[in-house]
Symmetry: C2
Subunit: 209 residues, 2 copies
C-alpha cells in the first residue's frame, strides 16, 4: 500500500477512542475490555479499515480488532469511522511480530486480507502465513485456530496452502474465484478496486485443533 | 473423454503384452511381475496413455501402471505403444473402485490427471479425490501415501484440496499455473491441447504418512 505522510497522524491515532494505545495492559483481558464474552476476531494488516469496519457493523455480536503497522494508514480508518459508535471494534497500531506480547489465548479467527506477498523467495519468512508467524498465532488463539485469507496474489496463495498444511492446519474451504461463489464476503477497498478489473480473488479457510 | 467404438478393441486389449488381464492374481506381487524392487506409480484414468507412456520412457527405474475403465480408450494407448518395449509399464482395464481387489500395499504414488470433475454436487462422491476413493487408496499405498493431481477444472481442484486436507493429507506443493513454473512436467494429450489455448493447469502434491 502506498504510504502517504499524514499531518497530525500521531495525534489523531492517539486521541481516537477506537485505538488502544497501551495494548499490552489488556493481554488476556480483551473480553473484559469489550465487556462481553463474544468471540474476538483479528485482522492483521487492516489497512484503511474497510473490511474490519464493515464486519463490525454487520456482526454486532462479534468483537473485531484490527492491527496496522503504519500510523499514516491507520489514520485513514479512523477518519472513515467518523462519528460511528461501534462498541465491538478496537484498533491497534503495531507489528504482527509482537502479537503474542499483546494477546494471549483469546482470538477466535485471524483474517489476512491482501497481505504483502513478499514475492522474492529470500523474503518468504516475512509472509504472514510463514513459519515466522504461525507459532506466534498459536499463542494468541483461544482454542480452535482459524485463519481466513483472501488474496489476488497467486504466489502468496500457493505458499499459504502449503505452509498452513505443513503446520497442521486443515484447509477447510478454498475458492480460486471467491466472487463467483455465494459465500458471504465483506470486501476490502483493494478487493473492490481489483475485482472490478476482473482480477480473481483467492480465498481459504484453515482450521487447526 | 469422447468414447468412440473401436473395432476389435476387446481382442487388441486381450492380446497386448502391456495389459494384465488377470490383475487380481498379482495383488501384492507386482514387484515380482516387474522383476525388480523399484517404486510402482499408478495413474488412475490413464486415457489414451500419453502421460504414463512418456513417464515410463523418461524414468526407466520406476515402474508405471495405468488403469483405464474403458477398453475403447485403452486400445488407443496400446496403439501408441506400437513396437515400443517398455519393461516398466503395465496397463489394466478396470474401475478405480476395485483398486483394493487388485493392489495391496505396493503403490508409491497415485497420479490423477484431468479426472472427470463430476461438477454436480450430487455426484461429488464420484470424484477421484472424494471420501469414496481415499480409503481405497489407503489400502494400496505401500507406506507414505502420495497423490499428484493435475486439472484445469477449478471446482475439482478446490474440492481436492479440501477433501485431501480433511482426510489427513498434507498439501505439499501447489501451483495454480503449472506451466509457469519450472517443475518437471510430462503432459497429457488433453493438457497439451488446452494449455495451448491458454487454459491454466492446476497442480497439487499431497502426502500422508
Amino acid at each position: 500500500m502506498r504510504l502517504r505522510n499524514v499531518k497530525n497522524a500521531k495525534e489523531i491515532v492517539g486521541n481516537s477512542s477506537y485505538v488502544i494505545n497501551n495494548p499490552m495492559e489488556y493481554k488476556g483481558k480483551y473480553n473484559k475490555l469489550f465487556n462481553n464474552g463474544n468471540p474476538i476476531c483479528l485482522e492483521i494488516g487492516m489497512g484503511k479499515g474497510d473490511f474490519i469496519i464493515n464486519m463490525a457493523i454487520k456482526y454486532p455480536n462479534i468483537n473485531f480488532m484490527g492491527i496496522e503497522k503504519y500510523q499514516s494508514i491507520l489514520v485513514r480508518a479512523i477518519e472513515k469511522l467518523g462519528d460511528l459508535e461501534l462498541s465491538n471494534l478496537k484498533l491497534i497500531c503495531m507489528d504482527a511480530r509482537d502479537l503474542d506480547s499483546v494477546f494471549s489465548k483469546e482470538i477466535d479467527t485471524i483474517y489476512l486480507n491482501f497481505s504483502d506477498p513478499w514475492p522474492k523467495t529470500r523474503h518468504a519468512k516475512r509472509r504472514l502465513t510463514s513459519s515466522t508467524f504461525l507459532p506466534i498465532y498459536d499463542k494468541v488463539f483461544k482454542s480452535t485456530k482459524r485463519i481466513v485469507q483472501k488474496t489476488d496474489n497467486t504466489g502468496l496463495f500457493e505458499f499459504s496452502i502449503v505452509s498452513l498444511s505443513n503446520y497442521g492446519y486443515i484447509i477447510n474451504n478454498v475458492s480460486l474465484d471467491l466472487h463467483s461463489t455465494e459465500m458471504d464476503n465483506v470486501m476490502t477497498e483493494y478487493e473492490r478496486k481489483f475485482s472490478s478489473k476482473g482480477v480473481k480473488i483467492n480465498y481459504l479457510e484453515a482450521i487447526k485443533k
